[in-house]
């Protein structure tokens, strides 16, 4: 997915990861680290490739939480939350399920 982030091709890998580690320490993320976080889809290929057995995918997710401002540091990236998500879920439930199913299965 890194090909989808214009800041990443040609970036120094160590600098990118250093920026991610900074985010885990609640520091300001480098533009390259933030770019990686923005395009990460948690495929887990980084974890599978790590020779030290580190769960890099989880590191990326926690760094993303940090960049979103969830862990105390200022927000550095925009949240992806879909506006009206739960209302939409409720509406499709009523379109697809009977009132009894909603009551029994979704309360």
């Amino acid at each position: 997915m890194t090909g989808y982030a214009p800041a990443l091709p040609g970036a120094d890998a160590q600098n990118v990861v250093t920026g991610v580690l900074g985010l885990l320490r609640q520091e300001a993320g480098s533009s390259e680290a933030l770019a990686w976080i923005e395009v990460c889809t948690q495929s887990g290929r980084c974890s599978a490739a790590c020779p030290e057995g580190i769960n890099a995918m989880k590191m990326m997710r926690v760094a993303r939480m940090s960049a979103l401002g969830s862990l105390g540091a200022p927000r550095q990236i925009a949240p992806r939350e879909e506006k009206g998500f739960f209302r939409r879920i409720g509406a499709f439930s009523r379109l697809q399920f009977s009132a009894e199913e909603v009551e029994k299965w979704q309360r």
Binding site: S70, I89, A91, F92, Q106
Partner: protein
């Protein structure tokens, strides 16, 4: 795994009641009785990375409900929920249950399933794969299940899309159109008349291709239930390919529209249904 389990189908799959009912029928066919649980009331909280207090509350509530079910086992459908349970929910709650993905349960009991797949499904079907659900190797499991369907000619393409399902690509500009285009090209190259989705968001985001491509888009659950003789129409797909707002409204009907709230339906639901897949 006990014989009665909680079937946790998640939030976004509620657009596809046919998938939920089909999955329940498949679990029943392999001897697993379920307490279905899903929708907003059972949210895992994975969408709330920007608000961990909310995420924690949702996770805690959902785990407590599963504990109250008392089955000792939860079968997941949604890969996001499965991942969040695996990586976060169970770490700061007290889950009193094991959990496994539905593909694992069906695959373990595929001999029982095979005995129920009696109707031929004459299709050349290309499996739409993603490589990002690393917690469970769903692609080979689903492929094995589909090979049980008499008459089905399964094609496994070299291409796998990034992410765990199509919705994972929507926040990344160009990523979903690229994956959609690659899937279309693979289907055309294989001469497939059907593209088989594994997850609900792929079904949601690809099913509109039927209006412009020479193949159908069908979830694997639907192919398996079809072979069992159970027909479960994919209404969302019918709406998506209806062609006009008037036709969508006609298919849904005034009663169901009113149940969602007419204004909300027109402002939020109808635009989603009318949106075409980009490729």
């Amino acid at each position: 795994m006990s014989e009665t389990v909680t079937f946790w189908y998640g939030c976004n799959v509620v657009r596809h009641g046919d998938i939920v009912r089909g999955a329940i029928a498949l679990l029943d066919a392999v001897g697993v009785q379920v307490t279905p649980a899903g929708g907003a009331g059972y949210c895992c909280g994975t969408a709330k990375d920007a608000n961990l207090r909310a995420a924690e509350g949702m996770a805690q509530r959902t785990v407590e409900k599963f504990n109250q079910h008392g089955h000792g086992a939860v079968v997941t459908w949604c890969p996001s929920c499965h991942r969040h349970m695996n990586g976060f929910m169970r770490e700061y709650n007290d889950p009193q249950f094991s959990f496994a993905h539905i593909t694992q349960i069906l695959h373990q009991r595929r001999d029982r399933l095979a005995a129920r797949l009696t109707r031929r499904v004459e299709r050349r079907a290309l499996l739409h794969q993603h490589f990002g659900f690393h917690e469970v190797e769903v692609n080979p499991l689903v492929a094995d299940l589909l090979r049980l369907v008499p008459g089905l000619d399964l094609v496994l393409p070299a291409y796998s899309a990034p992410g765990h399902m199509c919705s994972a690509l929507t926040p990344v500009p160009r990523a979903l159109p690229d994956a959609t285009r690659a899937t279309c090209e693979a289907a055309r190259a294989a001469g497939a008349d059907t593209v088989v989705t594994v997850f609900h968001s792929c079904q949601r985001l690809l099913c509109g291709l039927e209006s412009s491509e020479p193949f159908r888009v069908v979830n694997y659950v639907s192919l398996l239930t079809e072979s069992m003789g159970i027909e479960l129409p994919d209404e969302y797909k019918a709406w998506k390919n209806a062609g006009s707002e008037e036709k969508v409204i006609e298919l849904i009907g005034a009663g169901r529209m009113a149940a969602t709230g007419d204004r909300f339906f027109r402002e939020a639901i109808l635009p989603e249904i009318m949106r075409r897949p980009q490729k």
